[in-house]
């Protein structure tokens, strides 16, 4: 089995000021192989998004080691936090393409495909500040779909927008999850995790508290969340 990504005893803490630190991740050990589809669940602040940022090379671990297989790239698909509100959807999509490593020419040629997928109509040429949350999600997902990375890190992008678009996005994602690629999917929607992932992990206070087959892990997680209430 080819490991695309290995996290070995990875920890990261954030400076909270006044000489206090917050342990966002602690002692994480995880191996991701080609074809893996791993769901990540956990309460808010449990370290799910930080884990994805470590895998995407956005954060570097404070201690421990992250090893990517040669030439493997990992990309984070999130809800367009980087969109510039004064620019149109078209300009933002173009910028997203450049950030994903496309050349200027390739980025321009992708815009029609993104426009068609997003179904934003004339809004595609309007400033993003006039978009609803669902429209921003459509644009974010449409732009991110062109990503060619071997490891896709998906952070809640399937949880917004209307149900028709959510289903369309889920299907589009399913089509792109080839056996050569791996996907790590963070979501509070356990149904989505169950339908897209084969295995799952539960994050709790920066640590992996459970891991295994997706349905077993989700059962454990649901029981623990019910009992904690």
């Amino acid at each position: 089995m080819t490991h695309l990504l290995t996290l070995d005893n990875v920890s990261l803490s954030f400076d909270m000021g006044a000489n206090s630190r917050y342990d966002a991740l602690s002692g994480i050990r995880l191996q991701i192989a080609a074809g893996d589809r791993v769901g990540v669940v956990g309460a808010n602040g449990s370290g799910k998004s930080t884990l994805l940022k470590i895998m995407a090379k956005i954060f570097e671990p404070e201690t421990g080691h992250v090893e990517w297989a040669p030439n493997v790239t990992a990309s984070l698909l999130t809800l367009g936090l980087g969109f510039r509100p004064d620019l149109s959807g078209r300009d933002n999509a173009y910028l997203s393409c450049l950030l994903m490593g496309l050349s200027s020419k390739a980025a321009s040629s992708c815009l029609d495909e993104i426009e068609s997928f997003c179904e934003l109509g004339s809004f595609f040429d309007q400033p993003v500040k006039f978009y609803s949350t669902g429209m921003r999600a459509r644009l974010a997902f449409g732009s991110a779909l062109l990503n060619q990375s071997q490891v896709l890190l998906i952070d809640e992008v399937l949880s917004v927008g209307d149900s028709v678009f959510r289903e369309k996005a889920r299907q589009a994602l399913e089509e792109r999850l080839s056996p050569e690629r791996a996907a790590i999917i963070v979501s509070h929607n356990l149904g989505q995790i169950s339908s897209l992932a084969d295995t799952a992990i539960v994050m709790e206070r920066g640590e992996i508290s459970a891991s295994g087959a997706v349905d077993d892990v989700l059962n454990v997680y649901q029981r623990s969340t019910v009992s904690s209430r």
Partner: protein, 281 residues
């Protein structure tokens, strides 16, 4: 499993491969910097009723205010003071505005920073590129004004090109360093703005640095303050029809390259810690 190790050891062992793993090539980075700059300028212009006209209006208003104070109220004895002031002030604005915008550019782009593994120099360099585009328009306007008024000297106009290149080097070095220190402590933003105010007064923007009576003081002022040398050089070329002093220009070039080298080195060392620093506050 390998034992845990400190961040210092991690950096020493993995810094070079880590930097090489950033996914974009140099050409792609240059395209991205230019696109970010142009898109930002477009977005900024859309926010204002007068749009791109502010590129000319803002410096013109600054010059009008300074002219009113120093010529009309304080009766400056500098001949053709309006043009003297315009050359100094426009050179200063290019430097100060670019450095200030670069200084908070990484913080401003925290959304992108949290989404993509990208070299953080991209953001200050895009801010500096914006300043360059603005300056091209402003300088063209100034040259037309000098030509029409008959106050300009154009024998050595082509020396503007290397002079602008050196100023870009200086702005890049200072702007990159300013952006990095603001990532560590936002307090530096206040100090940078205060520093710009200080530079405004000691760089000969509204007075002639050659009018300083003490030759030693004048020389040290020019040697220690690259901006004073720059402003004087622009005036020598555009208003007095003479070439800037070679020794001072060589010092200016060395200072700019030194600052830029320090900035590049600092980003190589701190690259991987910038995102955590900015996004965790």
């Amino acid at each position: 499993m390998a034992p845990s190790f400190s961040i210092t050891r991690y950096n020493q062992q993995h810094l070079l491969p880590y930097l090489l793993e950033f996914q974009l090539t140099t050409i792609q980075y240059l395209t991205l910097i230019d696109t970010l700059a142009r898109f930002h300028l477009r977005g900024e212009a859309r926010q204002f009723y007068l749009g791109y006209f502010w590129w000319l209006l803002e410096p013109a208003l600054y010059i009008a205010v300074f002219y009113a104070v120093f010529q009309l109220l304080l009766d400056s004895r500098q001949p053709d003071y309006l043009y003297f002031l315009a050359v100094g002030k426009l050179t200063f604005i290019w430097f100060s505005k670019s450095v200030v915008q670069a200084s908070f550019s990484i913080e401003t782009n925290r959304g992108l920073l949290s989404q993509v593994a990208i070299r953080k120099e991209v953001f200050p360099l895009a801010a500096i590129q914006q300043g360059f585009y603005r300056q091209l328009v402003v300088l063209s306007f100034l040259l037309v004004l000098l030509f029409l008024s008959g106050k300009g000297q154009f024998h050595y106009w082509f020396w503007l090109l290397p002079l602008m290149f050196v100023q870009m080097l200086l702005i890049s070095g200072v702007g990159l360093l300013a952006a990095l220190v603001v990532c560590w402590h936002k307090d530096f933003q206040h100090l940078i703005q205060l520093g710009m105010m200080f530079l405004l007064f000691v760089s000969g923007v509204f007075w002639d640095v050659n009018a300083v009576a003490d030759a030693d003081v004048r020389r040290w002022l020019l040697l220690l303050n690259p901006l004073a040398t720059l402003i004087d050089a622009y005036r020598q070329i555009l208003l007095f029809g003479s070439l800037p002093k070679t020794d001072l220009m060589s010092v200016l070039l060395c200072q700019s390259l030194l600052l830029l080298s320090i900035a590049v080195g600092a980003y190589r060392i701190f690259q991987s810690r910038i995102a955590v620093r900015v996004l965790s506050r």
